[in-house]
């Protein structure tokens, strides 16, 4: 089973462009990342620049509308994620608990939809998606 661990750092919604984690925080987090990899559960991970460097697109009536960050109404924003492969939701939660998070942080644990989760008629309509996934490359380098 695959799970997304979404890091939600409180206050990140108002972080200025160019905000960076400090050296100590980074080193501590890298140790945790390493432990995920050693256990053979880490599939992918990334940090996200703050919303002040991002944008939102909404589709009222199906027409795209673009808004630049920051987003005044946002109370929680994603700061980064881990994608892990584990045997159960309980195992995913155990890994989340081991993260060296600080007092202003929450990790949301969400299961990834697998092709086999969908009923047969939906699978048929989505046929070709797994080939698409196989063709796309993760991280072609900066």
């Amino acid at each position: 089973m695959r799970f997304m661990l979404l890091m939600i750092p409180r206050g990140y919604e108002s972080a200025a462009p160019g905000t960076l984690p400090d050296a100590e925080g980074l080193a501590t987090m890298m140790k945790y990342n390493q432990s995920l990899q050693r256990a053979g559960v880490l599939l992918a991970l990334d940090g996200l620049h703050p919303p002040s460097m991002g944008a939102r697109v909404s589709f009222p009536g199906g027409k795209p509308k673009v808004t630049d960050g920051p987003f005044a109404e946002a109370k929680e924003v994603v700061g980064g994620y881990w994608l892990i492969q584990v045997k159960s939701k309980e195992e995913a939660i155990e890994w989340a608990k081991r993260c060296p998070g600080s007092d202003n942080e929450v990790i949301e644990v969400r299961q990834v939809q697998e092709f086999a989760d969908f009923p047969p008629d939906v699978q048929e309509a989505a046929a070709g998606f797994s080939e698409l996934q196989a063709q796309s490359g993760q991280r072609k380098g900066s």
Binding site: A23, L42, L48, P51, R110, S136
Partner: protein
């Protein structure tokens, strides 16, 4: 540069409603264009938050809260990872997505050099190793 494209949840996705054939076909065509253009790096849908959990950090204390997260104003229902030349290019791609009434957030991904001196040479090397190994595992996981 890489961007993460976060698709926000709505009542339907949180209720576990499955996409119909029309939207799947349109989304399939959109995903195919992204792959052909060399933009698509990854894309996944997430199960509703009722099947999820949250872990809250307070000093050494960890509190586990089961979903659904009804008080959360914005939840994530799915995401893409795209490789693009600029935020403008990412926005242009997203405008072409077959969405109706959804809200989608685009965020720039931290690359190794963005971290500055905090990313020491040792950490940089460790990070590269991590990525190579996790990519191999990721390819195996999809089959």
């Amino acid at each position: 540069m890489r961007v993460m494209v976060l698709v926000k949840a709505d009542k339907e996705s949180e209720a576990g409603a499955l996409p119909d054939e029309k939207i799947l076909t349109e989304m399939g065509q959109f995903n195919e264009e992204l792959v052909k253009a060399g933009v698509m790096l990854a894309g996944e849908g997430l199960q509703p938050s009722s099947r999820g959990a949250r872990v809250r950090f307070d000093g050494k204390k960890r509190t586990v809260i089961d979903g659904p997260f009804t008080e959360a104003k914005e939840l994530i229902a799915g995401f893409w990872l795209w490789q693009v030349k600029s935020m403008e290019e990412a926005v242009e791609w997203l405008k072409r997505a077959p969405f109706d009434r959804t809200e989608v957030e685009i965020r720039q991904v931290f690359e190794t050099e963005d971290f500055g001196p905090a990313m020491t040479p040792e950490l940089r090397e460790q990070e590269e190793r991590l990525r190579v190994q996790s990519e191999q595992l990721s390819k195996a996981a999809k089959r």
